[in-house]
Structures are given as C-alpha cells and as structure tokens.
C-alpha cells in the first residue's frame, strides 16, 4: 500500500514536473516564435524600405538616363608635300600636329516629349557652337517632326553624317566650300514614316538664315531640303539609298558693285546693286550602294553632286568675295567614294572628287585680278587611305590626298607654291587618332 502510494506520488510529481517542463518549453517556443515574428516584421520593414529606396533611386536614374553625353577628339599629324599652302593656308608649314576637331555633345532625350541637343566644337582656335536645337516628333503617327535651332544643313548626304563616322578625313570640296560651318539656324520639318513601304521614303525641308551658325545678317532666308529613299534588298545583302536636294535663297548686296563672274572679264562688273537681293539656287543628288561581299566585308559606293547659281557675299561661305562685294558664280561639284571593309577592324577608302567654283571661267580666262583669281580655279582631288578600328572608341587613320588644280597661265609665279600655271605639288598625308565616346 505504501509502495503504491509512493508510486502514485512519484508519478504525480513526475507528471507535474513534466507538465511544468512542457509549459516552460511551450513558453520558450512561444517566445522564439514571437522573436522570429518580430525579426520577420523588422526584415519586412527593411525590405519595404529598400524597395521604396530602390524605386526612388530608379526614378532618379531613369531621369538621368535621359541625358546622354558623347564626344570625340580628332588629333592629327599632317605633312604637306612642297607646301601646304592650299590646305593649311600657311605657305611656310609643311608638317604640323593639330586638333582637327574636339567635340562635346549633350542630348536630353525625353522620348515622346522631344529632344534637346547642344554640341560644342573645340580646336586650337577656340570654341564654337556646333549644334543647338530641339526637336519633337508627333505622338499620333510618329512621323512628322519639327527641329528648330542651329543644326546640320539638310542638303545632300555628307553634311547630315557625323565627321566621326566619315571614312575620309574631310567632307567633299564642294560641301566644304559652299556651306559655311556645315550648319545653319532655322526651322526644319522632317517626315520619317516608321513602318511599311512608306518608311523607305523620307523628307526634310526647312527655312534657314543661311549664314552658318552665326547670327543673321539680312532679311533673306533660304529654303533647303532633301527627299530621300532607301531600297533594302536583304536577301541580296544590298541596299540602294539616295536623295535629291535643293536650296533656294537670296543674299543682299552690301555695295553698289557686284562681280558677275562671266567669261568676258571686261564685263564682269555690274553696278546699281546696293541692297539688291541676289538669287542663289542649288540642286543636288546623292546615291549610296551598300553591298555585303561574302568573306571580305561590307562595301559602300557613294556618289554625290551639286550645282547651281551661287552668291558669295561678305564671307558667308568659303569662296572669295573680297572687301565685302557680292560675287556671282555658277558652281559644280561631285565626288565618288568607294569604301571596302575588311573583316571587322579594317576599312579602306578611295575617293575621286571635283569642284569647279566657276563653271563660266576656264583656266585661260582667269585673269588673276580680284574678280577672277585662284579661288575660281577648278580642283580635282584623288585620295585614299586606311582606317583601323582598334576598339569601339579608338580609330587610327592614314590618308593621302592628291589635289590637282586647273592650270591658270595668268597665275604663273617663281614661287612653286603659287605657280598655278601647272599643278602645284601640294599633296597631303594625314595620320589621325580619333577617340570617341
């Protein structure tokens, strides 16, 4: 009996102890669960905080991503045979290092709300505004755009393409001579259908000051434009692109006398022209063939021409206009360029070009006087070179130019650099280092 009581007592004590232990264990578990829940709540809070922080950061990054900064530096070593007179403008120089172009471009691309672009160009001479425009494309059919400000002149193919992507060292003689700065200030309408057959056609036309990137200096404006097409033949690896350009404008004579550069040099001067608006008009055509040569690389055959009546007035382009007089000329220029890519990294290029700043005067008609001087000589130029793309930023170029001037008996000189009665030995070789980002 005693044993039974003892056993029963022991069992009660054990059961109580176990119950107590169980309660204690439950309590520990509950505490742990509570602790985990608190930690989880805290972690959730932290994750939510991080998520909010991420969204805020993302919002800021998205805004910053609309700003795109790019630039390029073209530094070159130039060596001119005999004299660099025609190319550098300094007859004493034969070799030099120069910063041909240094550019910094900032664009704010706000998608359907438009784009703002400003670009500055630097070299040893200082800085100038290269681009300063805003554009906007209609949000309904995504086709019609308006671009206003200092921008590329919409004439021909070359001007609208960055010099960093040109295969040659410079643009053609025609475009360099005619279009000051290759920029103009005005309003441009663009039509670029995004889809379907219509996307193979494009149009751009605008009204410009036609005074380069400088401020306007008269009331005359120029209407300039280009209608372009693209015929891509994907199965053949071929594309045929091209366009037709036009320019119509006027330039005001600042003086009574205008030099009308005609064949008969005795009648080149016309008077009674003060404040008279002188007509200038150009037409142009360009074509580009792209063809993928299997096993070698892409080939480009590009040709472009421009011609028409031109006025040079008060230095508004690069033809001679001495002492602020207006000079009337008929101009004609063209080039043919062949580019052959070899693999991914090499590119060879050959160009033939010609520019006659005065088609009404031949070499024998040029008198060497102020109304018919060396600026009226026709020039042809053969050039060729190699571009090596070291990486996505660095390009090294070696290029050789052989200019040939029209023979002008009246411009005979003992100074070989100025003896235009024969072809001046003014070939130029250029080594260029280009870095762009």
């Amino acid at each position: 009996m005693k044993i039974q009581k003892f056993t029963a007592g022991t069992l009660i004590v054990l059961a109580s102890a176990m119950g107590f232990a169980q309660t204690a264990e439950d309590s520990v578990h509950q505490n742990k669960v509570k602790q985990f829940e608190e930690e989880l709540g805290s972690l959730k809070g932290q994750v939510e905080g991080l998520n909010e922080s991420y969204l805020e950061t993302k919002n800021t990054v998205d805004k910053l991503a609309k700003i795109k900064v790019s630039g390029l530096a073209q530094v070159q070593a130039v060596y001119a045979f005999d004299t660099a007179q025609q190319n550098s403008g300094n007859s004493l120089q034969q070799g030099k290092f120069e910063v041909r172009r240094g550019r910094l471009k900032v664009a704010y691309d706000n998608g359907k709300f438009g784009t703002y672009v400003m670009q500055f160009q630097f070299n040893e001479g200082g800085a100038r505004t290269n681009d300063m425009y805003a554009n906007f494309i209609d949000p309904w059919i995504n086709t019609i755009g308006l671009q206003a400000g200092i921008q590329d002149i919409p004439f021909g193919y070359e001007i609208g393409h960055s010099s960093s992507s040109m295969e040659t060292m410079e643009r053609s003689l025609f475009e360099r001579s005619i279009f000051k700065d290759e920029k103009d200030n005005g309003f441009l309408i663009t039509v670029n259908p995004p889809k379907g057959l219509a996307s193979q056609f494009n149009l751009k036309a605008g009204l410009f000051n036609h005074n380069g990137s400088s401020a306007e200096n008269d009331d005359n404006k120029a209407l300039i434009g280009r209608a372009g097409f693209k015929v891509p033949l994907y199965d053949l690896g071929l594309s045929i692109d091209g366009g037709f350009s036009f320019l119509y404008g006027r330039s005001q004579s600042r003086k009574d006398t205008v030099y009308n550069m005609d064949v008969d040099s005795s009648k080149v001067i016309s008077r009674g022209n003060l404040a008279k608006n002188l007509k200038k008009s150009l037409i142009g055509a360009d074509i580009q063939l792209y063809y993928d040569i299997v096993g070698l690389g892409g080939a480009i055959l590009r040709a472009e021409m421009g011609m028409g009546d031109w006025v040079t007035n008060n230095g508004d382009n690069h033809l001679y206009s001495g002492s602020g007089y207006a000079y009337l000329r008929n101009v004609f220029g063209y080039y043919v360029t062949y580019v052959q890519n070899i693999g991914n990294d090499f590119q060879t290029v050959v160009r033939y070009e010609s520019f006659d700043p005065n088609t009404h005067l031949e070499g024998k008609d040029i008198s060497g006087k102020k109304f018919a001087s060396k600026e009226d000589m026709a020039r042809t130029q053969i050039g060729g070179g190699v571009n090596y793309f070291l990486n996505e930023s660095v390009r090294l170029s070696l290029y050789y130019d052989h200019p040939i001037n029209e023979k002008v008996p009246a411009l005979s000189s003992k100074n070989l650099a100025k003896n235009f009665s024969k072809d001046v030995d003014d070939d130029v070789v250029t080594f260029r280092f280009q870095y762009k980002f």
């Binding site: 998608g111 096993g295 690389g297 080939a299 090499f346 050959v350 060729g384 090596y388 996505e392 050789y400």
Partner: protein
C-alpha cells in the same frame, strides 16, 4: 599621277595583310529570354566540335544589338526585330545591312499568381492594364484589389515586343515595376497575389499562365506548343540571331548547326518552338 596611284594601291594592299579575320572564340550576346537556349546550343556544339569556343552572355536584345554595332560580339541574340535606326548604324560602320536569322518561335506568356481567380484576359484588357487604364482587378472580374504590374527594363527585346504588339506602341504605365530578366518577373509574380507579369513561356514555372483572347468574342488560349504552332495563341514572336555580314567559316557552321535538327531539338527542350 602614276606615283600617287602606286602609293594608294600599296597602302590598300598593306592593310589587307593585317585583315585576315582570326577569331579565337565566337561571342554571343543579347536577349535574356534566349540566354539559356543559347548556352545549351553552345555547350552541345562545343562538345561535338572540341576546337570551337563559344562565349554566351545576356544583357538584353538592345544591349546585344549595340554590341554588334560596336564590334564587341559576333552574334546578337534578339527577341525582337532590329530597328531601322540600328540597321542604319550597321550600314554606316560596316557597309552592311546585317543578317537576320530566325531560330525559334516563342509564345509570350502573361502570368498571374497561382492563387489569382483570373483565368483569361483579352489583348485589349492586357493593354489597358499595362498602360494604366485598368488599375484594379475588379475591372476585369477579379477581387477589389490594386493590380501590381511587373514588366521588363527598356533594353529588353521582350519589353519592346510587348510594347509594339500588345500596347500598340503606347507607353507603359509610369508605375510599372521593371525587372532585369524574365526570371525576375516570374519570381516577383509568384510572391505577390495581386501581381501580373509577362515573359517567355519557357520561364513560366511556379506561377499560372493565363489564357489570352484576341478579343471579347474569341476563345482564350494558353501559350502551349500546339496553340503557338497553330497560330491560336495571340502573342507569339520569332526569336532571332543577327550577324553583321553574311556568315562564313566557323560562324556559318555554328549557325547552320543551330538550324539543324540537333540545334532545333534544344529549342524544344528549353520550352520554345522550333522554326520548322
């Protein structure tokens, strides 16, 4: 004149000597949607061709096309067609239009959380959800809860394709949560009962794919192999490879292999649909 021509010819000839294209490895970059498939292609091709070296990375279709243009990849994987502006850059730099090779078809799936009562949506409803015109599940027959919208980042071909095809070019809603890959979209949707997302059907594990209807009157279809092949599922697209030039040598062999039965069997294994 003759001297000049000789000089030019000698310069051109010298450049050709440097230009023999010797590539140590074929690099493949682009679409995240395609990255697993591309890795499988590379692994199997290299196991069969021990001398071949193929490096595959993702980053998005836009990133891949940029890499093709700047010369840092040989092949670009893209889950959207190349844009005209991108072709222009290829023409300018390489004188070529680029070569497009269709390698697979994909049904672009729309996901919801597995607990969601939503079974099907029309293309118009999906468009309205992603443009922000529909913001509550109640508006499409679900519970009275805000829709949490997940999508891809704008360097993604899937982002562009979805915008062009489903949103008809309209902008995504401002509050869409952009994820770096389809797997991230799937992961996010699987943890959020109020979420909706889109991406390749190949990634659709652990969440539910809704049926998509062309319009209110049409029948809804899931992005199954049969429905995609039969053209019944409305959101289908091609997956592409892009190269700069018409391919030759090792590059051509690899691409031909991708289009062969062996290459196309990988397409099926990773959940896409073969091109033929």
């Amino acid at each position: 004149m003759n001297k000049i021509l000789k000089k030019v010819i000698s310069v051109l000839a010298a450049s050709s000597l440097f230009a023999a294209p010797m590539q140590a490895a074929i690099t493949v970059k682009g679409s995240d949607t395609m990255v697993i498939m591309a890795q499988r292609w590379a692994e199997l091709y290299m196991s069969e061709n021990t001398s071949a070296k193929i490096q595959v990375t993702g980053g998005g279709s836009g990133t891949g096309i940029s890499a093709l243009i700047n010369g840092t990849t040989d092949i670009c994987n893209a889950s959207r067609p190349i844009k005209p502006t991108e072709r222009e850059k290829l023409k300018e730099r390489y004188g070529t239009l680029g070569v497009e090779i269709k390698v697979a078809r994909d049904g672009l799936a729309v996901y919801v959380h597995e607990s969601s009562p939503i079974q099907e949506l029309t293309l118009a409803q999906i468009k309205d959800i992603y443009t922000g015109k529909i913001s509550n599940w109640k508006q499409v027959g679900g519970p009275d809860e805000k829709i949490i919208v997940y999508g891809r980042e704008n360097n993604s071909g899937t982002y562009v394709y979805f915008k062009d095809f489903v949103l008809k070019g309209e902008d995504y809603m401002a509050g869409m949560l952009s994820m770096p890959g389809t797997a991230a979209v799937v992961n996010a949707v699987s943890k959020d009962a109020k979420a909706i997302g889109y991406g390749g059907a190949a990634y659709a594990k652990g969440i539910r794919l809704i049926k998509v209807k062309k319009d209110e009157k049409s029948q809804g279809y899931e992005p199954t192999a049969e429905n995609v092949k039969a053209g019944k599922y409305p959101i289908t697209r091609f997956l592409y490879l892009y190269v700069k030039n018409r391919p030759t040598g090792e590059l051509k062999q690899f691409i031909d292999w991708i289009l062969s039965d062996k290459g196309q069997s990988i397409v099926t294994k990773v959940g896409y649909f073969p091109i033929r």
